[in-house]
């Protein structure tokens, strides 16, 4: 299972089909409120997964299993994929989920309707067409052996083509029409989203614990930003389950009898991307010195309290297939080495301990999107890192910026930072292409947060993405990771977690396997 661990009293779904308590409202406390119910951000994916069904699903063993598509196969030349749909599913507006609907959605993704969906399939999918009512054929430009696996990510939830065509973007944002087990009944901004069960739902994915409609009548998806309040609300019974548990609460909640779920998100972990385009980190030695100066492991251990795993690998996390242990082992704490490298690079220790070169101080701007990509534990870890870096003569200015500023694109340009921290979830190492594709004038890649343009690296990654032999593919992915680690373009800090704490009255909440979001279809309330 890609990184899915079930801590504490983890139970597989209690016996399927038991109609013991079909109904009730499940109250769930989430930490962030996205601008739309669907979209390219993981927070949107978590939501849309309750409402929009996808073609395929990922099971606990990392296998792609049927959902709306009962069957799929790759052509011999690996350039054509054919999906066969099950008959019967409908969108909640009544439109049937047929081949044309799938084609329309693929076109919608390709056109940028969902930024993340586009970066995953855009470079590979040429076109899609409906062969008949239940058969879709997708033509690729290059082999893309993990195409189906990628489609298990919640960004690929299907929407009613009628809704896409006829409703405004705002309406689809607020209340997308999918074929999922729930529909959006109401969105009280700042407060909650109410998801109502679709009683005629009968096309759950193959890995679902129960088939048929969801067992709870309603999910009250509350937004509780403050972690303390979230945990408190769980303890007081105001909510049945919460997302994102603080590390220091983990063992307490465990001993209090809450069911805890921990999922290490595959894809890019919480890593430091150095701005290689300008400033001190344009110099590889300075990047390496910075990396050596940090006792990342100790800081993460202290703050993470055994819950948050240390991650040495920058490009991908330990739960990602083709993870390179070797890349992860680079740059263990060695302040002496760091000092030597800085000396080498010409940064002399100044009067106040900060190194200087040509009159410029070794000043590092380190912005991070607090409460968006970085939670409170993350913020503490960053402060710990800062302390270590300053030991060897860096002057690190932490610039936490709020979620809405992040949404508005603050601190994203090459002039805005020297080092940045962030994650990018994905189901596999294909994320490398998203993050490391060159940022060129005619094909810009704003996701290349190191501002590092290297045709060789890109070529390796592209080769890996299209490698049909799984072992060969993994080797290429590892090679790319080590390449990045060698040059200290990005170093890992800790793995991003998707954690859930579930109260004693709820059974059957599970975490989706591609990204770790909660799945409420199987959940039910017990007395």
């Amino acid at each position: 299972a890609p990184g899915t661990e079930l801590a504490a009293a983890s139970r597989p779904g209690t016996g399927p089909g038991s109609a013991d308590s079909a109904g009730g409202t499940l109250v769930y406390g989430h930490q962030q409120e996205p601008p739309c119910v669907h979209g390219g951000w993981i927070e949107q994916g978590y939501l849309s997964h309750q409402v929009l069904d996808a073609l395929v699903s990922l099971d606990e063993d990392g296998q792609v299993v049927p959902w709306l598509a009962t069957d799929w196969h790759e052509s011999a030349d690996h350039l054509t994929w054919t999906f066969t749909l099950q008959e019967g599913p409908t969108f909640s507006d009544g439109t049937p989920v047929d081949a044309q609907a799938v084609v329309d959605n693929i076109d919608y993704w390709l056109a940028g309707g969902n930024g993340t969906a586009q970066v995953w399939i855009g470079p590979y999918v040429d076109s899609a067409r409906a062969l008949d009512a239940t058969t879709v054929e997708v033509a690729l430009s290059q082999p893309y052996p993990r195409f189906a696996e990628n489609l298990t990510q919640p960004y690929f939830g299907l929407q009613s083509p009628a809704a896409l065509a006829e409703r405004t973007a705002e309406e689809n944002c607020r209340q997308p029409i999918g074929s999922g087990p729930f529909t959006v009944a109401a969105w009280n901004r700042g407060q909650n989203i109410v998801l109502d069960r679709r009683d005629d739902y009968d096309w759950a994915p193959a890995n679902a614990a129960v088939q048929g409609p969801a067992r709870v009548a309603r999910v009250d998806w509350r937004f509780i930003t403050d972690p303390t309040a979230r945990t408190a609300a769980l303890r007081s019974g105001e909510v049945d389950a919460i997302y994102d548990i603080q590390a220091f609460e983990w063992s307490a909640l465990e001993s209090e009898g809450y069911e805890l779920h921990r999922y290490v998100t595959p894809g890019r972990p919480q890593q430091l991307s150095f701005n290689t385009s300008r400033g001190p980190f344009a110099d590889e030695r300075v990047r390496q010195a910075f990396a050596y100066s940090l006792d990342r492991e100790s800081v993460v251990e202290a703050v993470g309290r055994g819950v948050i795993p240390y991650e040495g690998n920058g490009p991908v996390s330990r739960s990602t297939p083709a993870y390179s242990e070797e890349a992860a082992a680079r740059y263990s704490y060695d302040p002496e080495r760091a000092r030597e490298l800085l000396d080498d690079a010409g940064w002399e220790v100044g009067a106040d301990g900060v190194r200087v070169k040509d009159g410029a101080r070794l000043h590092i701007d380190f912005p991070y999107a607090i409460n968006r990509t970085i939670n409170q534990d993350g913020a503490a870890i960053i402060q710990g890192l800062q302390q270590y870096a300053e030991e060897v003569g860096f002057e690190v200015e932490l610039i936490p910026f709020p979620p809405s500023a992040a949404a508005a694109g603050a601190y994203s340009g090459p002039e805005d930072y020297d080092v940045s921290i962030g994650y990018w979830t994905s189901v596999n190492a294909g994320i490398l292409l998203v993050n490391w594709r060159q940022n060129l004038p005619d094909s810009p890649n704003p996701s290349n947060s190191a501002f590092y343009n290297d045709p060789a690296l890109e070529a390796t990654i592209r080769e890996a993405n299209s490698a049909v032999d799984p072992d060969g593919q993994d080797a290429l992915y590892r090679q790319a990771q080590e390449y990045i680690a060698d040059r200290a373009l990005s170093i890992g800090v800790y793995d991003r977690l998707s954690t859930l704490a579930v109260g004693p009255h709820v059974d059957g909440i599970r975490q989706e396997n591609s990204q770790g979001g909660p799945v409420f279809h199987d959940a039910h309330l017990v007395d």
């Binding site: 406390g29 901004r189 700042g190 509780i224 408190a232 007081s236 949404a407 508005a408 694109g409």
Partner: protein, 364 residues
């Protein structure tokens, strides 16, 4: 916030000694007097007119002043937003796509055209003002919804919070001041220290502590109760305690002054008990300064709401405002500012009317 001194107790522009004096000489003035050599002739013509415009004059004048304040507020808000760093079109694009990145001019051009950002600022300003006059606050960059809808959606929660807090503050303050004012020096010292302390307490800190004690430890009130009345208690209390301390300071000075007035003794010698005098006579006299401050305080609770709403996970204008300002969602931010200014103006008119009810001498 701030004016911890009770010196400034006059309602805006009503009983302002200097101003009144300054305003008198014109109008009736020397000109009318010099017209005739016999000043005792019956008043006709100009004087009559003056009287009439005077009689009518109060309300139009105030309304004009109110409009002026609102216009000023709109302008300040507009300018502040213009002065913000970053390109508004880029912001809009990022908000639309959920991305956080820089944009190329080619990408920005259509957005600029769509929102009229390519027009000179003054033209933008005029068109914004025009929109306001039509009651159109624009459309949110973030949510692509009319600002009016967004505000309307959140207004109720904040207004309920503000009003509850204000009412609670008054209850706390009146009880506290009425019980402690004019007692022995030690009690007075303690009481006013408590007031100053209450007024000095950071709101969010208080909120967090209340949350910790009453919601987390004792479990008396819900942590995230949504919009029910139980969930209103702690947030309102959080706003009310500092406010009560603040109002208390202004009231106490006036209360003690009123207590020392002869009419208090005169009520006592009539056989009235101490508490009776305090509540029936003195309180009314001491009520004007805190009442005047309440107009401002209601505005200030909006400041408080920004904080309290995030401590208690309440929805409301405050949170919308903060996120709009952070995200440079200009129409939303300006819309809320206009609303707050309007609220301020309205409340102050109401306060003036109320003050005149409490102290009929103010009608003059």
């Amino acid at each position: 916030m701030t004016p911890t001194s009770s010196t400034d107790t006059h309602p805006a522009g009503t009983t302002d000694p200097g101003r009144r004096r300054g305003a008198l000489p014109d109008g009736t003035g020397p000109a009318a007097g010099r017209l005739g050599s016999r000043p005792s002739r019956p008043r006709t013509g100009p004087a009559r007119l003056v009287t009439w415009t005077r009689r009518l004059g109060r309300w139009p004048g105030r309304l004009a002043a109110a409009l002026l304040v609102m216009w000023g507020a709109v302008t300040v808000a507009f300018l502040a937003q213009l002065a913000q760093p970053g390109d508004r079109a880029a912001v809009i694009l990022n908000l639309r796509t959920g991305q956080t990145q820089e944009r190329t001019p080619a990408e920005l051009a259509p957005v600029n055209a769509e929102y009229g950002f390519d027009a000179p600022p003054f033209e933008q300003y005029l068109s914004y003002l025009g929109g306001l006059l039509r009651g159109d606050l624009g459309v949110s960059y973030q949510q692509h919804r009319p600002v009016w809808d967004m505000i309307a959606e959140q207004l109720g929660a904040t207004v309920a919070l503000s009003l509850t807090a204000l009412a609670l503050a008054w209850v706390l303050m009146v009880a506290w001041v009425a019980l402690t004012a004019g007692r022995s020096p030690r009690v007075r010292g303690l009481a006013s220290t408590v007031e100053v302390f209450a007024a000095s307490v950071p709101q969010y800190w208080l909120g967090v502590l209340l949350l910790l004690v009453f919601a987390l430890e004792l479990g008396w009130v819900p942590v995230v109760g949504g919009s029910g009345p139980a969930a209103l208690v702690l947030p309102a209390l959080t706003l009310a305690i500092p406010l009560a301390g603040f109002l208390g300071q202004a009231t106490r000075a006036e209360f003690e002054l009123a207590l020392s007035r002869p009419f208090v003794l005169s009520a006592r010698v009539r056989g009235m008990g101490d508490l009776g005098v305090r509540l029936r006579h003195v309180l009314r006299h001491a009520a004007i300064p805190p009442l005047t401050l309440s107009g401002w305080a209601l505005g200030a609770t909006v400041s408080g709401a920004v904080i309290v709403e995030s401590v208690f996970n309440r929805n409301g204008i405050g949170r919308v405002l903060v996120s709009a300002i952070e995200a440079q969602d200009l129409p939303v931010a300006t819309g809320i500012i206009v609303l707050i200014a309007a609220l301020y103006v309205l409340v102050n008119l109401a306060v003036d009317a109320l003050a005149a009810l409490i102290d009929p001498r103010l009608k003059a």
